[in-house]
Amino acid sequence: MSAVSSWVSETLVRDATERRIFATLGLITVLLVVGVLTGVIGPRFLLFQIALVGMYALLSLGLNVQWGYAGLINFSVAAFWGIGAYCAALLTAPNSPLGLGLHPVFGFLAAIVVSAFIAVLIGIPTLRLREDYLAIASLGLAEVIRAIILNEDQWTAGSSGISGIPELLSWLPLTDAATTAAVVVFLIAVVYLFLRRVHRSPWGRVLRTIRSDEDLAKALGKNTYQFKMQAFVIGSVIMAIAGAFYAHLNLYIDPSDLVPLTTFYIWIAVILGGTGSNRGAVVGAAVVIAIREGTRFLNDIGFIQTLGVDLAPLRLLFVGGLIILIMRFRQDGLLPPKDELIWPAARDGSGAGGASASGAAPDGGTSSNGGDDR
């Protein structure tokens, strides 16, 4: 028990601002639980929202590897998400144009392989160049992929979409909503632990160096192109996994969600949460879902309906304004990365001892300054 509480105090609540943020989040959680217990919120609805938050959190973690760790501006989040979703849908749905009806495992595997392949293809021409080239090229790639899925309806069913996607693990003795929520929590845990491990490894430290000063990394003899490519592929694969999960959550997929706005939602989640921070990515994803669902709730309030305002543009306005405000007032986000690169043992001064602690401290310094160097 004391181990848990010390973990909480070390990783979650480090200073006053963060304590306030987590207190707010805790309060919202309590309110949600009370809402379910009193029957205001349906548990099924809440579990679906949790699964959705989880999916957004996965996408944010994927983007965080690319933008937060390596400084790569990827505007094709929606495309890699769509690749994952379509791989899962095409292989597993019995009434998809391919009509295979395979086990969901093959859908996830295909999502990983195809997204990795496409990430390499788009990375080869763009990762050697200036960072803003990747922004433009990746947005272009996303639109090309959307055009292909929309137009090649003999393979992808075009705008009519694919339905009849099977549910995941339907043999588990849980409701379907609970099962998907459990699956996404499992996926996030695996991805989170994996990312924390690689981020603290020498590989992660090289990426941080590339992000703050690529010439320095080159001068130290690092093949920065290789490192950036690896980060790009890892991030894209995580996004595709999120997409494959979404196909099994929503049980229906069509190209309308592949628009650039989806990508910008994930960007908000990452920069709001704190660029480079995995904790922040998860929190940011929850905030983004709150924005989306909150504006949908407004739709149901009679007063606003009588005003005759269309809420889709208001949401757009809100999202755009939020991006501008974050970039102006809190570029580091809500939970900026502090010492995520430091091994806990090194921080305590125990374990490997003073040598590793002093070795790790400068890295920690770079990481907290990373936000300002941008």
Partner: protein, 313 residues
């Protein structure tokens, strides 16, 4: 109207008109890229803002001026064009003051991300003020000019001609401004090396002010022409943004003359895609016109990262 067997020259003619629009937009984007030093993702939506501002002014200009016309188009259209250009110029200057200047502390990436927020806000405001439906300027329908059709066998409407002519006028005016005036020399100096320009006594704030005015006005002209040729839609600017970026990159980022050349090439390729498809050069039709333009951009990046006219990348 168009003969069944479309002449290859027809595609070239369409290409010239579409290129004009792309060139106008690409110049503004390239100016921002070279002087303010960031990729402005709000530039497409700035075109939309200009096009809708012009549409707004049509509402009061048309009753005032009636149907008197010049060059085959009603007079009110030209005034609406001027109004749209002015409105977009003012809006882009205000945007710079309110949004971009305060974030100046961070580098070009912070500005790039901010510009996405600006793009979404522009589009939301257009949606809120004009609704989501496509609109028209209400310029009377015109057939192709008869003598062009008889001599060359291609359909060219008076409005096509006006678009191309006005583009030539605007581009020439910009060229003269950049080469013959003090302001132009200051702009080129700032684009080349902002710090050096400041040290040698150029007020870069004024240059940036002029840059937003010119870029915004040209973007609006492109937007109005696009609305005249097709429809005035709230998403028109964002849908065309990638093609404009392709033109800017193709020409070499930051080079205004490169952007003109890149716009010409990309616009032409975009319209020639059906012809290439007909000839069997490429396997896809006009649905993938934007994708083909984009693939060409990536190919150019691979071979020559600095673009056609750029120096070192």
């Amino acid at each position: 109207m168009i003969p069944l067997q479309v002449s290859p020259f027809q595609y070239v003619a369409n290409g010239v008109v579409f290129s004009s629009i792309i060139v106008l937009a690409a110049i503004g984007l390239s100016l921002v890229y070279s002087i303010a030093d960031f990729a402005n993702f709000a530039h497409g939506d700035l075109m939309t803002v200009g096009a809708f501002s012009a549409l707004f002014s049509v509402g009061f200009l048309r009753p005032m001026l009636g149907d008197a016309g010049v060059f085959g188009l009603p007079l009110w259209f030209f005034l609406a064009l001027a109004f749209g250009m002015g409105a977009a110029a003012v809006i882009s200057v205000i945007t710079d003051r309110v949004v971009y200047q305060p974030v100046k502390g961070s580098d070009s990436i912070g500005l790039l991300i901010s510009s996405i927020g600006v793009a979404l806000v522009y589009r939301a405001l257009v949606f809120l003020s004009f609704g989501t439906e496509p609109e028209r300027y209400g310029v009377p329908r015109q057939g192709p000019i008869p003598w062009v059709r008889e001599t060359l066998g291609i359909a060219v409407t008076p409005r096509n001609l006006v678009v191309v002519m006005l583009t030539v006028v605007l581009v020439t005016a910009l060229h003269l401004t950049l080469t013959r005036t003090t302001l132009g020399r200051k702009m080129r100096a700032t684009a080349d090396n902002a710090d050096l320009a400041r040290v040698s006594g150029i007020r870069t704030r004024e240059v940036i002010f002029a840059m937003w005015l010119i870029g915004g006005a040209l973007a609006a002209a492109g937007g109005v022409f696009l609305g005249l040729e097709e429809l005035v839609r709230p998403r028109m600017g964002f849908d065309i943004l990638l093609i404009i970026f392709a033109a800017v990159i193709l020409g070499g980022i930051g080079s205004v003359y490169g952007a003109m050349l890149g716009g010409l090439v990309i616009g032409m390729v975009h319209e020639l895609v059906p012809l290439f498809n007909q000839w069997g050069i490429i396997p896809v039709g006009s649905r993938y016109a934007a994708a083909v333009a984009f693939v060409i951009m990536v190919a150019i990046l691979l071979v020559r990262p600095s673009g056609i006219a750029g120096d070192s990348g």
